[in-house]
Symmetry: C3
Subunit: 167 residues, 3 copies
Amino acid sequence: SYVLGAQSKKVISSKKPCKRLVLYYHDTMFTGNNAGNATAATIANPNGTGLGPFKFGKTVVFDDPMTPDKHFRSPPVARAQGFYFYDMKTTYNAWFAYSLVFNSTKYKGTLNIMGADMMDEATRDLSVVGGTGDFFMTRGIATFRTDEVEGADYFRVEMDIKLYECY
Amino acid sequence: SYVLGAQSKKVISSKKPCKRLVLYYHDTMFTGNNAGNATAATIANPNGTGLGPFKFGKTVVFDDPMTPDKHFRSPPVARAQGFYFYDMKTTYNAWFAYSLVFNSTKYKGTLNIMGADMMDEATRDLSVVGGTGDFFMTRGIATFRTDEVEGADYFRVEMDIKLYECY
Amino acid sequence: SYVLGAQSKKVISSKKPCKRLVLYYHDTMFTGNNAGNATAATIANPNGTGLGPFKFGKTVVFDDPMTPDKHFRSPPVARAQGFYFYDMKTTYNAWFAYSLVFNSTKYKGTLNIMGADMMDEATRDLSVVGGTGDFFMTRGIATFRTDEVEGADYFRVEMDIKLYECY
């Protein structure tokens, strides 16, 4: 559905990432008395701004563990550091910007990611807009799939990270 | 004004985008009693932080309609979901990060955009840093031109989106 | 430590940027009575959210001068416009997204940067995810090195900006 100009030099197959990582994001909200377990905190508008009933404007900063499987207590292989906010008045919908920070024997470096998280969709794609260290200059797609929601204070998202530019 | 290194392999003509979209962004602020029409809300510092008289630090989250012409009531062809804040003490100036979310018969996917909005300039360029779906892995430039401002509660910006990397 | 797919067409030497700029970022916080000198202001949670003692969730918007040397009073060659927040409960750690805005005889245009600022590390890399004007479509790495911290109200960071994609 778009026109490729003659100056477009790169041909990348959308079916073959040069690297792929499937990780689980665990977001445990700070409720005031769980600082030992919590890894995320509301920084503005805990109940939203009043524009609709879906917490429009509630904003959260996080330093969440990323595990290779669904288990909250598995050793994290990375941290997800960044923020999200809710941004729709007719349903729950969010917007994310964050870094995946790797510091293990396998990987050292970061992936930087931003995009819309349309929570009603089974899966949704965000952009990997850059990387550092072992992920030097990479780009790609991070596909979110909600894996579990436990009330307002914990949710888990599968992040299927496909890199299409590797160096 | 810069040196091209020998390792720079891509040659992209800045004059020929591989795709171009001109859309209008309508930002209608929530004032407390217009939830039906409003699509944006202040999440912090409605009057700024006090660092100068230009609302430095006022921060807004939006889910704004994008129309193909200037008319607020035209059917939107995308949503702009993200945030901006004012960030200068000597004039109005803003910084934006957001996604354009397309979900129509023509396009499905997103464009992710960030950059400085120097509101005193006739036009200003932000970066399209990634895309998904029909805009898979794209990059480019989004040129803002303020089209109308109606007090503090509505403004319209023409966004001329030129993509230079298409896949 | 990663597999290069056959569709990866670009070969970029990580040792040879096509352009490099070393600049100093000066962050002077607004304390309520220093509007003449201050160029940054806290927009949320001046003391953090209570998740740990390291100001988790404190968020700052800035329009900071960038100088070619360490001297605060040197003529700035760019402005850094954006925001950061603290995001760790066990140490000081931050996350940045901002634009470097150049408007001089030498350069006109912007660089857009985002990433994790792991303040305990001697150096840390963020991603240059796009550029405009003289930096049209560029990408690269911005390496932060803390150069000086004076209490809570001033710090200086060396930003070593290496661009690996130039056009």
